[in-house]
């Protein structure tokens, strides 16, 4: 149970596949247009239920409750060894060596 007044994220179908533009590529036309919005939960609710939220601008949006306290967890990703190789190439090209202290 997620308590009223908790900061949450909802998901909503804006357009069903049959409502989408016929000119769209097949992969897009065959799926719904989805929307994700965050706000304060206006009533106690379970994940997956249809709820109302109040957004930071004071608007009311309705949709499926998907999570509470939604977080940003994006990162710099996994290490890409090629970037180190680029560094070596650049230093060799400019200084003649990748070891500046030689």
């Amino acid at each position: 149970m997620i308590k009223k007044d908790t900061w949450v994220q909802i998901r909503k179908i804006v357009l069903k596949p049959e409502q989408r533009a016929k000119t769209l590529p097949e992969a897009t036309r065959s799926v719904p247009l989805l929307m994700w919005v965050k706000g304060t939960l206006l009533e106690d609710a379970e994940i997956g239920s249809n709820v109302n939220i109040k957004t930071v601008t004071g608007r009311i949006e309705t949709g499926e409750l998907i999570c509470d306290n939604p977080s940003f967890l994006h990162t710099y990703g996994k290490y890409i060894p090629e970037i180190h190789e680029v560094d070596i190439m650049l230093k060799k090209a400019l200084y003649g060596s990748d070891d500046l202290y030689e």
């Binding site: 998901r11 804006v14 357009l15 409502q19 989408r20 533009a21 769209l24 590529p25 992969a27 897009t28 799926v31 719904p32 247009l33 989805l34 929307m35 994700w36 919005v37 965050k38 706000g39 957004t55 930071v56 601008t57 004071g58 608007r59 940003f72 994006h74 990162t75 710099y76 990703g77 996994k78 290490y79 890409i80 090629e82 970037i83 190789e85 680029v86 560094d87 190439m89 650049l90 230093k91 090209a93 400019l94």
Partner: protein, 487 residues
């Protein structure tokens, strides 16, 4: 009950009974737009297909000096121009003797919100406040969202940013997720949508529901805010080198960056400076394809926006776009994703300046173009953007690899967008590739002729200005499509 409360309830009642189907909302498009930007675009229309561009750009009656002051008071502009001495030295290692122009960058990442987009947002938010709007809305997956959110915070305006962020499985492009975070950090409400141009439908619904100002990138305010950038880079260059630049390279997507910069340059100097547009080559990827969405490593500054907007500028979210790059562009080049990531790393490792990759599209092009110019000439890259988790070449390359994109060293010209990212295996393999501008101009004209098969003399003058060509050039195309000319 207070009168305002009664009116609000009446308004809400009307909203509930209004038909909000996709077709109905799109049919109300022009009316919604007119109310949301405070500009009557109809009054600028001329002839059968043209409009008075310069009159539109005078909307708001804001001089360059006033714009500079507005920006100065709001954390925008006055960014440093920095010489990339080591990158220039590297270009000279591979250029023919005596060639390799000095490369400078305008470090626009140092604007509040971290990009040149703050210049555009500053004037839109200033105007929204002046006209009495309570809030602003912008449809953007790019740096412009953070810029509008940041400027809205300064003016005490509410702010909604609508972005295309996820594919239908809910997997988000790291760069766009970072921009959502930045928008929220500045207090904005962020509406995230899956792939599809119907984002515009939700955008219109929000404008209607809230009555907020449409802080479009394509209003005159979105363009005049960048004119200060063009002016500054000339003045900065004169101060640092005693000379004006020979070439300015602008990353090109919707065309506003190039348009505003070129206009600012022309207002500041009579010298003929070559204005180059540069886009990341994403040939083959469909911008509205759910499957292609997460196969690209650049979410802006690419040909997927650059080409459709240059041949049809009025496809934007206002009736007449003020971003009209074909009027000003002298050359249009593309670079590949691997080249831009490579130069982003070069900026960090050789110049000690770590910036986001999308803004370095023009740096990659400038590195190649510099080798065409003499050592005593100057080339300016007119922007950088902030970097962060998600919005970094390391993050983008990692995401690409997770999505099955093959990353390898080779000839960047072998890169296939959506399948591979080819990092140059030697520094001299970075090449800006020229697009045929005359062919682009002809496609632009072809689009214009779809509007009417009869045009008048005013329209011809308009088309000559729009394409920056001659009467003969336009007349030849008119003849090709059997377009009648009225006296």
């Amino acid at each position: 009950m207070k009168l305002t409360s009664c009116l609000k309830k009446l308004y809400m009642g009307v909203m509930i009974y209004m038909n909000n189907s996709y077709e109905s909302v799109m049919a109300r498009k022009n009316e919604i737009m007119r109310k949301s930007v405070g500009i009557d675009f109809d009054k600028f229309e001329t002839g059968n297909i043209g409009f008075d561009y310069e009159a539109l750009l005078k909307e708001g009656n804001l001089s360059l000096e006033i714009i500079k002051e507005i920006q100065h008071n709001n954390g925008v502009g006055g960014t440093p121009l920095k010489e990339c001495k080591n990158i220039t030295a590297l270009a000279r290692k591979i250029a023919k003797p005596g060639y390799g122009a000095r490369i400078f960058i305008k470090d626009e990442a140092l604007n509040d919100s971290g990009s040149f987009k703050a210049r555009r947002a500053s004037i839109s938010c200033y105007q929204a406040k002046k006209l009495g709007f309570k809030g602003v809305i912008a449809a953007t997956s790019g740096n412009y969202g953070a810029a509008v959110a940041s400027q809205a915070a300064k003016y005490g305006l509410k702010c909604i940013i609508v972005q295309e962020c996820y594919d239908s499985l809910g997997i988000g492009q790291p760069e766009i997720i970072e921009k959502a975070r930045a928008c929220e950090a500045y207090g904005a409400e962020v509406i995230q949508l899956s792939v599809g141009p119907e984002l515009f439908y939700k955008f219109l619904l929000l404008l209607e529901e809230t009555g907020y100002f449409n802080a479009s990138l394509y209003t005159p305010y979105g363009i005049m805010g960048i004119e200060t950038l063009g002016k500054e880079l000339i003045e900065d260059c004169l101060r640092l080198t005693g000379k004006e630049p020979d070439m300015v390279v602008c990353t090109n997507a919707g065309g506003g960056n190039l348009t505003g910069t070129a206009r600012g340059i022309k207002k500041t100097t009579d010298k003929l400076i070559t204005v180059v547009g540069s886009s990341v080559n994403l040939k083959g990827l469909h911008m509205a394809d759910d499957l292609d969405f997460n196969k690209k490593s650049f979410t802006t500054g690419h040909t997927g926006f650059g080409l459709p907007f240059i041949i049809n500028p009025d496809r934007s979210d206002v009736p007449r776009s003020s971003a009209r790059p074909l009027r000003y562009i002298d050359r249009y080049v593309t670079v590949n994703q691997g080249e831009v990531f490579f130069m982003t790393e070069a900026l960090a490792i050789l110049e000690g300046i770590e910036r986001g990759p999308a803004g370095n599209t023009s740096l990659a092009a400038a590195f190649s173009l510099s080798q065409e110019l003499r050592e005593d000439q100057i080339i300016i890259v007119q922007e950088t953007e902030y970097t962060s988790a998600g919005k970094h070449h390391q993050a983008q390359l990692s995401f690409a690899r997770e999505n099955g994109i093959c990353i390898y060293f080779g000839d960047p010209q072998d890169e296939i967008a959506g399948k591979s990212i080819v990092l140059p295996k030697a520094v001299n393999m970075i090449k800006a590739i020229d697009l045929d501008l005359d062919s682009i101009r002809k496609k632009y004209l072809q689009n214009q002729f779809l509007k009417s098969n009869i045009i008048c003399q005013t329209d011809i003058d308009f088309l000559v200005e729009e394409t920056n060509t001659s009467r003969d050039f336009v007349m030849a195309e008119l003849k090709k499509y059997n377009i009648k000319v009225e006296d």
